[in-house]
Assembly symmetry: C2
Homo-oligomer: 219 residues x 2
DNA sequence: CAGACGACTGAACGAGTGTTTAGTCTGGTG
DNA sequence: CACCAGACTAAACACTCGTTCAGTCGTCTG
């Protein structure tokens, strides 16, 4: 117990890391036997250490949560919130974590909701700073705008995962992190265009919506 | 066989419809017994009609695909592509289909990839028309822009599903379609703002990217 | 050295799954 | 009527899953 904090390569930690990788790559449906095999261990030992598969996943969640928080803390000044996952996927060390988070997103656990809310909060803070600095336009609904932008990131993660899964049968070497990077390249230019000039040529739609909401704000 | 096309309420169709609803609400992990029970039928009969659970899902896919194509065909002139799912979720008749599609998106089957590509293609066509009509700005990468916009829609679907799942324990009456509608309301104003004015106050970032790409277009 | 404790394994258990099988009921046909 | 094909069911089968259990090994302790 006292050794674990100093040397994080105990069997227990090895099982946990193997579980994160397996969960991230194959989803949460994988059997304990596959995880145990990856860790070079018997299925019974996994239960011996973690009590149940659910508690194993709980520790994986906590571990991923903690790691992301650390990376985020030291990177908050460098990148925009939406890019954190992209940058993490570039570092091979953190690539499995990205896969794990995407799986959580698809599976819909508590970590997923918390992760999305965290991204939204980060984006809101980041946008507020940028608005104060004068580089980003102010919005009449800052939290809503943050949600809107994070939705785009989440959608790209999901679509990248979709294509990574689809290509797995043909070329098993396709990894979600690579697919995500490719995805970023594809939409970076259109995204920038969208962010600088917008999409519409006139403000008619926005004006219509605003006057409609002024008359009847209920829907 | 000749009866089925005239009257679509054969036992076979009833099982298929029950499967679509169950798959959409609980995901593809639900057992055949639950589906059979919903259809008022024994588990064996499901196999008798469809051969296997996988083939049952295949017929569900085909049915959803066909229905969406029909709805799309008669609605293509009215709504923008991203709104089709939203409008469908309002019609109670089609609400289960929306849930099914979202589940496919999360599960990552062939229908999911096809569905996303279909939405992207629709969005691209819709945007091209709008550009010609002068209501939407031209883009230097129209397909990329379509992908970017559809990613936002997909992300909102996923997040809405996330929150619908999270609230299920507290209030089981929350349906994905309702969550989706609520989601739309939340981000409609910020989305419109974004589309009319953009996000950034200057074109520095875009210009930087363009000059960088002009010098080294490889990455 | 004796004893105890924790890591660890291999085999088994019980519950769940999709599927099979034997058999019943029903409606139409010669 | 006899017959039969198909819809349909109840029970069982085969398999996988998470989990349990009895027991072995090595190490530390008194």
């Amino acid at each position: 117990m006292n050794v674990r904090s100093a040397d994080d390569l105990t069997t227990r930690a090895r099982i946990r890391d193997a579980a994160v990788v397996r969960f991230g790559r194959d989803g949460f449906r994988v059997g304990l036997r596959a995880i145990a095999s990856d860790a070079g261990v018997s299925p019974g030992l996994v239960i011996h250490h973690f009590g149940s598969k659910e508690r194993l996943r709980g520790e994986c969640d906590a571990h991923v949560r903690r790691t992301i928080r650390e990376v985020k803390a030291e990177a908050i000044t460098q990148w925009s919130p939406g890019q954190i996952l992209g940058e993490m996927s570039n570092a091979a060390e953190y690539a499995p974590l990205v896969g794990y988070v995407v799986r959580c997103l698809l599976d819909g656990g508590a970590l997923a909701a918390e992760f999305v809310e965290g991204m939204v909060a980060d984006a809101a803070a980041y946008l507020e700073e940028a608005v104060d600095a004068g580089t980003v336009r102010p919005s009449s609904d800052p939290p809503g705008r943050a949600r809107y932008l994070i939705a785009t990131t989440v959608g790209m993660l999901v679509i990248a995962q979709l294509e990574a899964d689809a290509g797995r049968g043909v070329s098993p070497t396709v990894d979600p992190a690579g697919a995500l990077g490719q995805m970023w390249q594809t939409v970076l230019l259109p995204g920038l265009e969208m962010m600088t000039d917008g999409l519409l040529t006139s403000s008619d739609l926005l004006d219509e919506y605003r006057t409609a909401m002024a008359g009847d704000p209920s829907p």
